[in-house]
């Protein structure tokens, strides 16, 4: 069965880009435009991995990450942001991977493949 990735990003263009690229790479994609929405989508179930933007209005990625790790300990989370410096900040250590945003999604897709391949 295809693995399902939840893409959380407040930027509409990027959601579209991720959805198309990741579906093309063979995954199912669910979208969420905010931190709050992402938690609702996870509650609905069937998510195998969360691709999470950090900087979002309202509940930001770091907060989402905390909620996810509290409630769904085994759900992998990949943080994705424009800023390399978050890597060092407390609160992002718990993520399974950290990817710097780029219009070239090669690195991101490889990271997702590594993590989803490892699982089960």
């Amino acid at each position: 069965m295809k693995k399902r990735i939840l893409v959380v990003d407040d930027e509409e263009g990027l959601r579209l880009l991720y959805k198309e690229e990741l579906e093309e790479a063979g995954w199912e994609v669910t979208l969420a435009a905010s931190g709050e929405e992402s938690l609702r989508r996870i509650e609905e179930g069937k998510i195998d991995l969360v691709l999470l933007d950090i900087k979002m209005p309202g509940m930001d990625g770091v907060e989402v990450l905390r909620h996810v790790k509290e409630r769904w300990k085994d759900l992998p989370v990949v943080l994705c942001t424009a800023y390399p410096h978050y890597k060092h900040e407390f609160g992002t250590w718990a993520s399974d991977a950290y990817v710097i945003k780029s219009s070239d999604l090669t690195e991101l897709k490889q990271t997702l493949k590594d993590i989803l391949g490892k699982k089960r």
């Binding site: 990027l14 880009l17 198309e20 690229e21 710097i100 219009s103 070239d104």
Partner: protein, 407 residues
């Protein structure tokens, strides 16, 4: 005016806020009131020019000489002996007095000089001249000695005040710099927000254009535009990435490492690029371990930038030589290209952010490399060999040693 009143007034002069010359002028006038002289001049010792310079003079007769060299005239003799002295001559018009020449004595026959000094230094000379010689008396001499001590305290007070003024000027400058750096920080903050607002839409543009490319064949109309869009987006992404790195200095994650390993990894990243350019990479590494405390990821970025910069200077052929060695307590890594060197006009600018001579350069590669090396308390030196190439030398202290590269 009696003696005690004069002493009292001299004491007050030490705390007066008036310019030093005015106060010394007043002191001279007071001395002339208490002692039977016709002219009083005060010379201050200028240790830089090694001369006595006239600061104040009061009285009658020919004008006091402006400066005396350290061995000239009666002041010179005070300097040599360290103490005051009296001197007299017979004729008024001549300048010879007690075996030396002093043009200041023209029109006078008697002089008394007093050293202005304390236990640590000579500050100057009081030079009293009279047309007619008078008999010295002990009470007057002792009053003059006291007066000289008080004048010393006026001069010293002035020195302390000057130092004080310098200090407060420095303080004001520091404050101005602080305000300036706050402004810079506010600007950086604003820039960081703008950059974030630009980066996300830019990624959409570039990413979606990439997707569109898959639907537009190589020879289709409009394909050229798409290629240009993606090309420019990548360029802007790099620029923005560079700005972000400049703006956010993340804390260094220092760990024990081997510099040879770090540099090796950077080189491997560029093997393909070098091959494409027909550039031969020569590695001259020391066999010794190069122990360093460094943030591996950051240090790799520094060398990535130095190597990329070197490769970009060589178009169709060339040699990139990367060597490492241990020089006493410092680790030395050299990245040398054969790209012909930097135009000397630009040499001073290569570490300035956004300065570039390349068509597609961001102007951030070398500044980032420099910033990272500096944050590791190291230095980058540039050896520009025009017509041959450039060698960048990175020096870092060996682990656990303060080798004082950045004094």
């Amino acid at each position: 005016m009696n003696l005690s009143a004069i002493i009292e007034e001299l004491g007050e002069l030490a705390n007066d806020g008036a310019p030093l010359t005015n106060r010394l002028q007043r002191a001279c006038a007071l001395l002339l009131e208490t002692a039977p002289f016709d002219q009083c001049a005060i010379y201050l010792w200028d240790s830089v020019n090694r001369a006595f310079v006239l600061n104040a003079s009061v009285g009658t007769g020919s004008a006091a000489i402006e400066t005396y060299g350290e061995d000239e005239g009666l002041p010179g003799r005070v300097k040599a002996s360290g103490k005051g002295l009296a001197a007299s001559k017979k004729d008024l018009s001549g300048t010879a007095i007690d075996g030396l020449i002093d043009a200041g004595m023209r029109g006078f026959s008697y002089a008394l000089t007093l050293a202005l000094r304390d236990s640590s230094a000579l500050y100057g000379v009081i030079y009293l001249k009279a047309v007619k010689k008078t008999r010295r008396n002990a009470a007057r001499d002792s009053a003059l000695t006291t007066a000289a001590a008080l004048i010393v305290s006026i001069i010293r007070g002035e020195e302390i005040n000057a130092r004080h003024r310098r200090k407060s000027a420095e303080l004001a400058e520091l404050q101005a710099r602080l305000i300036n750096s706050e402004k810079v920080m506010a600007l950086a903050d604003m820039a960081s927000n703008i950059v974030h607002e630009i980066k996300n839409p830019l990624l959409s543009i570039g990413g979606l254009a990439n997707r569109l490319k898959k639907h537009v064949p190589q020879d289709a109309p409009g394909r050229l535009y798409l290629d240009q869009i993606t090309h420019e987006t990548v360029r802007l992404e790099k620029l923005i990435g560079g700005i972000i790195r400049c703006l956010h200095e993340s804390a260094l994650e220092l760990q024990s490492d081997d510099m040879n390993d770090i540099v090796s990894e950077s080189i491997e990243l560029f093997r393909e690029d070098a091959m494409r350019r027909g550039v031969n990479i020569v590695k001259k590494f020391t066999d010794n371990r190069l122990p360093v405390r460094a943030d591996r990821e950051q240090m790799k970025i520094a060398f990535d930038n130095l190597i990329a910069n070197a490769l970009q200077s060589m178009e169709n052929s060339g040699t990139l030589t990367v060597s490492t060695c241990l020089d006493n307590d410092s680790i030395v890594v050299k990245v040398a290209d054969s790209g012909g060197g930097i135009d000397p006009r630009y040499e001073n600018y290569i570490f300035n952010p956004f300065f570039t001579t390349k068509k597609f350069g961001t102007g951030l590669g070398l500044p980032i490399a420099n910033a990272i090396v500096m944050r590791h308390k190291g230095v980058i030196e540039v050896d520009n060999n025009i017509g041959v190439g450039v060698t960048f030398t990175v020096k870092l202290c060996s682990e656990g040693i303060e080798c004082g590269l950045r004094a």
